[in-house]
């Protein structure tokens, strides 16, 4: 046998574990393993979970993670389909891929809102408010009247060198309040938070405006944050800003 017939091992994609777990997302599918959520462990003990803030948040977070997992799985399917693209079948493959891509974009937009909806639900649930710390007012209590949002039109001004999508979720409130937004964060903690986001009176108008300033070097990602009542610091809505590549 000649040396040329000797087999060689191919280098793996990586040869070390990932120790920095913050941004790590795991693909749980391999060798026919059931996708997450479809198979539950045979838990004979099954203590019933108490409804606490922690549980609701965990549920919301898990829902968000499942959507992210599904997002990644669908993305991989799209990539696989593109790799297996056959000549002569361009039209059919293209429309299917476009549909998948559109679904992915929609899913991505919804993740942040879903997460924050869970937070909002948790905070406003009367059952969960029992024993909460802070002596704060019940969210149903009115904030001190002040000029602010009470539903209605609100303008958005964006200063960015890149394409940016802004999704502001401010459900109608019974009383006016002054909105404030804290820094928005990406999933990857290495990305700097978006701090150039604020509510101000629009130029020449008493109506509030959302001002969004994106630094040139801001990494493309989805940044999410909470909109709060400036007076009470209670969450009143959510803000999602997608900085595109």
């Amino acid at each position: 046998m000649t040396k040329q017939e000797r087999l060689h091992r191919q280098d793996p994609k990586r040869a070390e574990p990932i120790r920095n777990m913050t941004g790590y997302l795991r693909n749980s599918h391999s060798w026919g393993e059931t996708p997450p959520g479809e198979e539950s462990g045979k838990d004979g003990e099954g203590a019933k979970a108490q409804e606490t803030v922690d549980d609701v948040l965990t549920h919301g977070v898990n829902l968000g993670y499942k959507i992210i997992d599904e997002h990644i799985l669908q993305g991989r399917r799209v990539a696989d389909e593109l790799r297996q693209h056959r000549l002569g079948d361009e039209k059919g493959t293209g429309s299917e891929v476009n549909a998948l891509v559109a679904r992915l974009l929609g899913v991505t937009k919804d993740v942040g809102a879903l997460w924050l909806d869970s937070l909002e639900m948790a905070v406003k649930s009367p059952r969960l408010l029992t024993g909460l710390v802070g002596g704060g007012r019940h969210p149903g209590e009115a904030a001190a009247a002040s000029p602010g949002v009470a539903g209605g039109n609100l303008s958005i001004e964006v200063a960015s060198v890149r394409r940016t999508q802004v999704t502001l979720n401010l459900p109608p409130a019974p009383q006016a309040y002054t909105p404030q937004v804290h820094a928005l964060h990406a999933v990857d903690p290495a990305f700097p938070p978006l701090t150039g986001v604020s509510f101000q009176a629009a130029a020449g108008s008493r109506r509030p405006a959302l001002l969004v300033e994106i630094p040139d070097a801001q990494p493309p990602s989805t940044y999410t944050g909470v909109v709060v009542d400036k007076e009470t610091n209670e969450p009143v809505g959510s803000l999602v800003i997608r900085v595109l590549a």
């Binding site: 046998m1 040396k3 000797r6 087999l7 060689h8 091992r9 191919q10 280098d11 793996p12 994609k13 990586r14 040869a15 574990p17 990932i18 120790r19 920095n20 777990m21 913050t22 790590y24 997302l25 795991r26 693909n27 749980s28 391999s30 060798w31 393993e33 059931t34 997450p36 959520g37 198979e39 539950s40 462990g41 045979k42 838990d43 003990e45 099954g46 108490q50 606490t52 803030v53 922690d54 898990n62 993670y65 499942k66 992210i68 997992d69 937070l119 948790a122 905070v123 408010l129 024993g131 909460l132 710390v133 802070g134 704060g136 804290h182 820094a183 964060h185 903690p189 909470v226 610091n233």
Partner: protein
């Protein structure tokens, strides 16, 4: 070049790692691409995990093998193995993997009591949802911030308990604190700026001096740990240090002889130090995760971060070290455990177990683990060549390598210890109560000149018995394409001389990745544990007197053995065995027997002088009641021996073979491990719990992870992300 023929893979050894590599490569999904042959010295699979059946079909192990509830990879593959066998033969014993295990939630440590004697602190660890090996539904199940948040919650619970114990007049206020902070913390929805302001307030106004302030601070910390990057690092460190200082100020000076208080305080002290250390060393942001502190000795690292000597010498720390056999050279005065891996093992063990924290096997490890793997591998066409001892891995002449060609294995040289009559394959299994088991001795009747070998007492598993009947050389391309070396790091100096001569990394590896010999004793007794004076439930207990600091109640195995007069109790003991200054080479053929005698003497001394603390009714004024021991040869005819001589009917061993030595995780050594993914020799990979496999501790789970990595090195499957816990802080 398209390869039509199967890829031939030669795997050295049949321990957990090697068996798993074979299992992965022979998956039906590979469609027969890999033709796997395993080479094993002696007559049985399993390596350090091999077990046998002796007199009365009693199970005879290398030591104590307990599976932990976080062994996700090990359980997952075992469940797949059982499922594959179950499909073919649903009527077999232990067709369901859950039938093959007993959950062990009762775990304990032992500490000298302040009032003299010993106190056993045992705990029933609650069942956790799910079962090990279930699919993971969380996309990021392992995050250091989550572990530390749970540690903060644990600290809060323990402190509330201690406050209540200490000052009864504050119990009303503390009950309010417990209600407010015990579960639903209203802090999570607060924005980061508000939480940061709360931290500053608590620090500035000295509120940590009050119980209320301290409990609130811990609740804040738990929230903060979930979103670390949001907060300034220096504030976090000051906050954590402030909390811990306040905790110590509250309790450290408190004098009590109450053992329970002391033990709870020791846990608080240790957890506090770990929290401080995590922030001081910036572990949550370090890309190396817990590996960043592997150069520190674990106890030393915790000491540097403020734990007291009392806590550092507590039963919990000793139990952790005993579990890891973390005594360099087998010397109890030289405890050594890499801090990062020690913490990684602790958080996995306590915070990620599923089902039960410990799982005991219902028969020998060979019967429960290696028999199913052997049967599945056989079904899939893999071969196991018993009685083949690797002598040398021969590398290709470097002068003959083409430019850019990597070094490679040219040949494998074996001693053939025995040949099978008729030239067929060796049938290794025996039937015990319908279960296919591995015997404690080879079936000499199957071997050519077997009677002579039996008479001359050939010990095929001993490093000091080099007798053989032939040699065998396998050549690359003709006989193998890839080699997986899974014979343990102890075998490397004896079988990989050419690699060691040329490769500095391998020399560093064998110098630094150390192993330790171990000793094990198994007792069968005619009275049950309650009669012997142990009133608590069946237990696995550690941190007791050396050298047998770990004891496991194995009564559940009685039904699997075939005793003429059934014993009422089975006890396993194990731990390290100190090395002599120089370990003799294989020409000193009497060495194993001398070490075995040493273990016998150790065991007799232990039973006469120490076991009475745990089993008070097992001893009398003369020491251990030797009449308790059940001798399978007596069979109702009266005692064959009296006094200490009855010990000779029991089972004990000194694990001194190089491949039987336990792999340690000493500080400063883990960086010298080599990964199975390393591609320096492009047709050789390594596998075992001694490799850089993501969990650098001697255990089944590390071996299984390594086996899966070795399979990935050859076939790029399973995906690395699928090796649970490989990617872990």
């Amino acid at each position: 070049m398209k390869i039509e023929r199967p890829v031939k893979v030669a795997i050295i050894g049949t321990g957990c790692a090697s068996a798993v590599t074979a299992f992965e490569l022979t998956r039906p999904e590979h469609r027969g691409k890999y033709e796997v042959t395993l080479y094993q010295l002696g007559w049985r699979m399993g390596g350090k995990g091999a077990s046998g059946r002796g007199p009365a079909d009693r199970i005879e192990e290398h030591g104590l093998h307990i599976w932990l509830g976080f062994y996700e990879n090990a359980f997952r593959l075992l469940r797949e193995c059982y499922a594959e066998l179950g499909r073919d033969d649903p009527g077999r014993r232990f067709a369901n993997w859950q039938d093959a295990f007993v959950r062990e939630p009762h775990i304990g440590v032992v500490d000298p009591s302040s009032s003299g004697g010993w106190v056993a602190w045992t705990s029933l660890f609650p069942p956790a949802p799910g079962l090990p090996g279930d699919p993971l539904t969380t996309h990021n199940p392992f995050a250091l911030s989550n572990y530390l948040a749970r540690a903060a919650a644990l600290l809060r619970s323990l402190l509330l308990g201690l406050y209540t114990w200490k000052t009864e007049e504050e119990s009303g206020e503390l009950r309010e604190l417990s209600r407010r902070y015990g579960q639903a913390s209203g802090l999570r929805e607060a924005p980061p700026e508000s939480i940061a302001a709360s931290m500053r307030r608590l620090l500035k106004l000295g509120m940590l001096t009050t119980a209320a302030g301290l409990i609130e601070a811990l609740a804040l910390l738990e929230v903060v740990l979930k979103s670390i990057p949001t907060y300034p690092e220096n504030l976090l460190l000051r906050f954590v240090e402030g909390i811990v200082s306040a905790i110590r100020a509250h309790f450290e000076g408190f004098v009590t002889e109450d053992d329970e208080f002391r033990m709870k305080w020791q846990i608080i002290d240790l957890v506090s130090a770990i929290l401080v250390g995590a922030f001081r060393h910036r572990l949550l942001l370090d890309p190396r995760g817990l590996d960043a502190i592997n150069d520190y000795e674990c106890r030393e690292w915790i000491r540097q971060n403020g734990a007291s000597e009392s806590s550092l010498n507590s039963a919990f720390m000793r139990g952790l070290y005993d579990l890891a056999l973390a005594y360099e050279d087998g010397d109890p005065s030289k405890p050594g455990l890499a801090a990062g891996q020690g913490l990684r093992g602790a958080v996995r063990m306590f915070f990620t177990y599923r089902g039960s924290m410990f799982w005991k096997m219902r028969a020998g490890m060979g019967d429960i683990i290696f028999t199913p793997f052997y049967q599945v591998l056989a079904k899939r066409g893999a071969k196991v060549k018993f009685f083949h001892r690797l002598e040398n891995i021969k590398l290709a002449d470097p002068a003959k390598l083409a430019p850019g060609e990597r070094p490679y294995v040219e040949a494998l040289e074996f001693d053939v210890q025995a040949k099978i009559k008729g030239g067929g394959d060796y049938n290794p299994l025996v039937d015990v109560k319908g279960l296919a088991c591995w015997p404690s001795a080879p079936d000499f009747d199957q071997l050519q000149d077997g009677e002579t070998m039996r008479r001359e007492d050939w010990d095929f598993e001993s490093h000091w018995d080099r007798r053989k009947v032939d040699t065998l050389t396998l050549r690359v391309v003709d006989d193998f394409d890839f080699v997986v070396f899974g014979a343990s790091v102890g075998a490397v100096p004896h079988t990989c001389k050419e690699i060691l001569a040329r490769d500095a990394r391998w020399r560093d590896m064998v110098r630094h990745v150390k192993t330790v010999a171990s000793q094990a004793v198994q007792l069968w007794m005619g009275e049950d544990m309650r009669q012997l004076g142990w009133a608590a439930p069946s237990v696995t207990l550690s941190a007791f007197v050396k050298p047998f600091d770990t004891w496991a109640d194995m009564e559940h195995l009685i039904v699997e053995e075939t005793w003429p007069t059934e014993p009422k109790a089975i006890a396993y003991f194990c731990n390290v065995l100190a090395d002599p200054p120089v370990t003799p080479d294989h020409s000193d053929t009497d060495y194993p027997a001398r070490r075995r005698d040493e273990v016998r003497r150790n065991a007799i001394h232990f039973l006469n002088h120490h076991i009475g603390h745990l089993w008070p009714a097992a001893v009398d004024d003369n020491g251990f009641r030797w009449d308790l021991l059940v001798d399978s040869a007596e069979s109702g005819r009266g005692p064959r021996a009296r006094g200490e001589a009855r010990f000779d009917s029991q089972y004990w061993r000194a694990n001194v073979n190089p491949t039987d030595r336990y792999v340690q995780a000493l500080p400063g050594t883990l960086k010298y491990r080599i990964s199975p993914l390393d591609n320096t020799y492009d047709n050789l990979t390594i596998t075992g719990d001694w490799t850089d496999c993501g969990f650098s501790n001697g255990c089944v789970e590390a071996a299984v992870m390594s086996g899966r990595l070795a399979a990935h090195a050859i076939s790029h499957y399973p995906p690395l992300e699928d090796i649970i816990g490989y990617d872990h802080p």
